[in-house]
Amino acid sequence: MRGSTPLGKVIGYGSAKDGAGHWWVQRVTAVALVPLTIWFLLSMASLPLADHAAVTGWMRQSLHAVPLAVLILTLCWHARLGVQVVLEDYVHHHALKITSLLLSTFVHALVAATGVFAVLRIAFAA
């Protein structure tokens, strides 16, 4: 408890076992997203997006499907961490805060799973 105030010692709140984990993972995903998102944006810019065969043909290549799945997972993870901080800062009612945090986690997990499923379905389609 070095560095804690007398009040802090009495209340007895210690480490929540997370420490800088949230901060660090937000940065790790941010660094990963720089090349991933630029690659995705430039790929989309070079594709005729209204052409179903062209877009699915692009996505069927493992060189595109794998980074795309990684991009979706990283985006959802990064977004969940960011939305969490926003909810913690601005939702002051405790029960509403916990509920919205839970809901945000579930929605982000669902979006991540659905996104990866959708990419794999296209990649594995005969």
Binding site: V34, M44, L49, A50, T56, A79, G115
Partner: protein
């Protein structure tokens, strides 16, 4: 517990445009998080075959939705550039007022230039989203 003074006391500071960039990072972040739903809807439509995809792109081609997509593109470019600015700050550099203002202007310049270029690529009749 008694109410305590909370940082950062936003209201006591004179407005500076770096403050607008700061809150804009959060606003664009939340907007982009909601955009994930459209990204996944696009991937699902793509996997549902050419007809479902044509219906999806037809819907996305509506004027108002194109405006939203364009706003998402700009929000992404902003969040990307300002995110890199944040990563640079994480190394402990660039905190002086003059440096923060310079990097702010670089972010804005990037969004304007890259935004104009990509809006042209994605939303002008040849190829693109239409």
């Amino acid at each position: 517990m008694a109410p305590r003074p909370l940082s950062p006391h936003l209201s006591v500071y004179r407005f500076a445009y770096t403050m607008a960039l700061s809150i804009l990072h959060r606003i664009t972040g939340v907007a982009l998080a909601s955009g994930l739903l459209v990204l996944v809807a696009w991937l699902l439509a793509l996997g549902n075959g050419p007809q479902a995809y044509a219906a999806f792109t037809g819907f996305m081609g509506h004027g108002l939705i194109q405006v939203v997509l364009g706003a998402w593109l700009l929000a992404f470019l902003y969040h990307l550039a300002n995110g890199i600015r944040h990563l640079f700050w994480d190394t402990g550099r660039g905190f002086a007022k003059s440096a923060a203002r310079r990097s702010a202007r670089m972010v804005i310049a990037f969004v304007v230039v890259a935004g104009a270029l990509l809006v042209y690529v994605f939303f002008c009749p040849v190829g693109g989203v239409q």
